[in-house]
Symmetry: C2
Subunit: 233 residues, 2 copies
């Protein structure tokens, strides 16, 4: 999925990033570059590069004479895809999943409305194809096939909205949907009502009915929120 450990500094990050986001080093903890370099058996240059990246994510702050200070959670760049992945992989997973689902519930309906106004013919076709794929995989424990089309569907909506910031949430949504299928309980086939809603959204977008696309998508995300409440009330 992501790009693991590109270069030595990347491997250090793969180890240190999750540790920090998991809370192994509480906000205010002070680390020293030299010590870290020794611990990870890399040179100081490599360690410094890793620290710079963590700093750009506002996970740590490096100050002379004091060291590398871990910042409080409130300072973190929670929109950084890397940070999101690290948190989803760690103990913060439930909270992160909830935050992201709420975010989805705010963004996706608006994105769908915009998509109805701006989607190209090609995007409409793609959308319909995705919806059909979902229908085809909606019965008989074909969860993986369903997931692929579900992810593609939401990606097209976000892209077709024409808003670059919405488009960039495609990966996040993919992560959330994949998480739901793989980690959470999902023995049975997906909710038939949800499948129908996706088909209807595709129709609304194709027909240029922004209000309807928005409303239907709101029902989809509403369902996702309820699912979450059932799992962890």
């Amino acid at each position: 999925m992501s790009t693991p450990g590109r270069g030595l500094h990347g491997r250090v990050l793969d180890s240190l990033g999750p540790a920090i986001t998991a809370g192994d080093y509480p906000g205010g903890s002070v680390l020293r570059t030299d010590e870290l370099a020794q611990r990870f058996e890399v040179s100081r240059s490599v360690m410094r590069e890793a620290v710079r990246v963590l700093e750009s994510m506002h996970l740590v702050e490096s100050r002379r004479r004091v060291g590398v200070t871990v910042l409080p959670k409130s300072a973190w760049n929670v929109y950084d895809p890397q940070v999101i992945r690290w948190r989803l992989a760690g103990t913060d997973r439930p909270r992160q999943l909830r935050s992201l689902t709420v975010l989805r519930s705010a963004i996706e309906p608006v994105a769908a409305g915009l998509a109805a106004q701006h989607a190209t013919a090609e995007q409409c076709a793609e959308l319909t194809e995705c919806a059909l794929g979902m229908v085809a995989n909606s019965r008989g424990h074909k969860l993986e096939g369903y997931l692929v089309h579900d992810v593609a569907f939401h990606r097209v909506i976000l892209t077709a909205s024409g808003n670059e910031m919405f488009a960039r949430l495609g990966d996040v949504v993919a992560e959330v949907l994949a998480g739901r299928t793989h980690h959470e309980v999902m023995f049975e086939d997906p909710d038939p009502a949800a499948v129908t809603l996706h088909v209807q959204v595709a129709e609304a977008v194709r027909g240029g009915d922004a209000a309807r696309a928005e409303q239907l998508t709101r029902e989809i995300t509403e369902g996702a929120l309820q699912e979450l409440d059932i799992l962890a009330p």
Copy 2:
């Protein structure tokens, strides 16, 4: 506001970051670390740190034997506050401002609804105070005073929503509102209707009326969108 040029690598970033986000180096352009180090008169170690940061923002990609490749806009981490600031400062400003305003229109109503459910008594008081401050500065060309309270108002809403990802958008909203007051045309006093809406949102949140808070905030952001359409249709 931001933290300019912390260390040498920071100063390199202050120069190179805006250049890339402004499109001075089109996607696909290839730079070489050594050459950049010479151009900015820093050592390679410093230059490498800067490149690592740009890489973590997905502005560039560094590959052996080829160099530092500038990535297409579609790959950028558009939620990185630093990237947002760079783009707001450059030629991409109008597009960025529009994207952010659309984002606001999706997020803030939902945030207001959640705030109505979760806001503490203290946050409600703060909110009312902000609204009153807006009223007090709404007439007689007190734009700066108005702005301060406006920013504070939206910050409280986003924080009170209880969603960490919403809360993190406080800075972004502040940037957008400040931009509207400082850069765009805003000779006259703010729209009285908008002021009234803010007061009513404060009331709705205090009263725990989520639906009303959401709807009223939707009207506020709707107004912001229309403002944008008038300026650049």
